[in-house]
Amino acid sequence: MMWRMAFRNLFRNKRRTMATGAAVIAGFVGLILLGGYIFYVEKGLRANAVYLLNKGHISIFKKEGLQKYATKRSFYEIKPEEQKVILEHLKKYENNIEWTGHAITGSGLISNGEKSVPFMATGVDLLTLEKSLNHPQVKKWAHDFLTKDAADFVQAIKSDPLSISITARLGELIDRKTPFSQLPEEKRNVQLAGMDVYGDLNAVDADLSTSYSTGSELLEDAGMLAPYELLQKLYNTDGAYYMMVYLKDDGHLSRTVANLNHDFEKDNLPFQAYPFNDPAISPNYVGSMGFLYAMAGFFVFLICGAVALSIVNSLTMGILERTREIGTLRAIGFQPQQISWMMTQESLWLCFLSSLFGIVLAWMISVVVNLAHFTFSPPGVAVAVQFRLSVNPTLAVMITALLLALVGTTSFIVTRFKMKMKVVELLSDSGA
């Protein structure tokens, strides 16, 4: 009956209940949309880092290779026989591995015959390119990072192994405009020059096929995606800079990486595995998410503070108005904590109902915002992305639980504090 009584008490002062409910709803909608936005951005940046930037969920380097590869490439690259050893060790985890890949990176000059500009290239095996560009996670979360013809790159390599994909801005720097596939053949043909892993100069021919985006403003002027073999040829090596491991489920990523490193160490192998969310692997992902989490933390603090203050205000008024009633309950034998709990139940009801209403409202807002197709370029991101809001059911449940805990705790503390009055004083109160 106490829950029923608490529920009915909500209708005593409808205006105040509605005002407090509105504050809780506003807080709930704010939290759920903020959470939904961060959730969406996180998924997008994660898919971009893992699949489109070809880092995999796990990147495996030669020990210290991540830091020193550029200084002594022939030493820190992973040779084909070492790749076999790594693949052998990965068999232990094969149930959760979707596929593995190889990548080589390097810089050099791209020339149209008249003009040369620097590039920074990543050479990736065909399987990885094919799987990554068509991966459901990319299609669902990171399609903003894909150019219109990005997915055609794999087909282009299959018909022409010299095909490369460069950013639109790098294309402009060598006077080639997108779409590259529609350029005459002589305009599509470019030369790549670079220093090989032994320090000698080398050059190869390449064909512009498609454009892509690095997703990062800093890299967009020099980004190049090339077939693994083409870059190996340019850098005169049969090795890889790193190997990628793509997981089916990345829920236990840290543990898998730790286990893998433990295996390498145990077998005295000179390799080091990193998760994609290591700052050295995906500085963009880590930096952006760090900023978003800090911003979200600040807003969550503000929103929770406002909700808590509304509840405190509402409860204080409720207690003032019902002082004599509280006195009566005390007189007939209710313990102070029982009355506190009863009043807390009232707040919990209000919070629960407001949360239900808030879910509907948040969903409606997200539908409207998503239909409006607002686009913007976040700081440091090279592409314009759509501002999307999503109402995630798990997040909604978590936020409801958070608000119920916040409201419950606040209510209990406030009412316990107010229950310290003597029974006779409560009974003699004339009411607010």
């Binding site: 009956m1 005593r12 007939i332 034998g333 313990q335 029982q338 006779v424 009974l427």
Partner: protein, 225 residues
């Protein structure tokens, strides 16, 4: 007769600003089981203070209070609450019903303090006291759908539902017209006679005192009769 309440040398003072105002100046009083006692006195004489102390709603500045053989002044807040719930029923001048609960629920309320009663026993007790006060056909009504007299009957039923040793009533008829006031007193007297419920109530209405078994007259914080 069994002694229910014993006040010995009870003094009570209230602080009003810097001044200490004495409300009771040394009260000795015993209430026995089955008594129908009225405390009468002028406004400000200390009768409500006396009832509050006898009802364990307040503690004396000095003196000893024993209720059902237990020394109240040595009890903590939780023990006092338990004592009130188990041994004492309260009837208030303004009825003090919970407006969001109907008659049945208001009467049932004191039984919810302790979880030891089964739902069947609760139901039987509530039914029985609602019948005793003649409100069977109003059990689903909310307080604002009842007359003053009916509300006070609900309050009486609520006071009786725990089978208390003592029922305290502070000016139970003050907010009622004279006819209803007499009906309420008749009901209390009837319950006292038939069910041996011990009543201690205070009133400043001299017209009602002829109906009670024992009168305690109080004046300026001292029992004078």
């Amino acid at each position: 007769m069994e002694q229910l309440v014993k006040l010995t040398g009870v003094k009570k003072s209230y602080k009003l600003g810097q001044t200490l105002v004495p409300a009771l100046r040394g009260i000795n009083l015993e209430i026995h089981a089955g008594e129908f006692t009225s405390v009468i006195g002028a406004s400000g004489s200390g009768k409500s203070t006396l009832l509050n102390l006898a009802g364990c709603l307040d503690l004396p500045t000095e003196g000893s209070i024993q209720i059902a053989g237990q020394e109240v002044t040595r009890m903590n807040e939780s023990q006092q609450s338990d004592l009130r719930n188990e041994k004492i029923g309260f009837i208030f001048q303004s009825f003090n019903l919970i407006p969001v609960l109907n008659v049945w629920e208001n009467v049932e309320l004191p039984l919810l303090v302790k979880a030891k009663l089964s739902p069947d026993e609760r139901k039987s007790r509530v039914e029985s006291v609602i019948k005793a006060v003649g409100l069977e056909s109003f059990q689903h009504h909310k307080p604002d759908q009842l007359s003053g007299g009916q509300r006070q009957r609900v309050a009486i039923a609520r006071a009786l539902v725990t089978n208390p040793s003592l029922v305290l009533a502070d000016e139970p008829t003050a907010n009622l017209d004279s006819k209803t006031a007499h009906m309420i007193l008749d009901l209390m007297a009837d319950l006292n006679k038939k069910q041996n419920v011990t009543f201690l109530f205070c009133s400043h209405d001299e017209k009602l005192i002829g109906r009670v078994g024992r009168i305690v007259r109080i004046q300026d914080g001292v029992i004078v009769e």
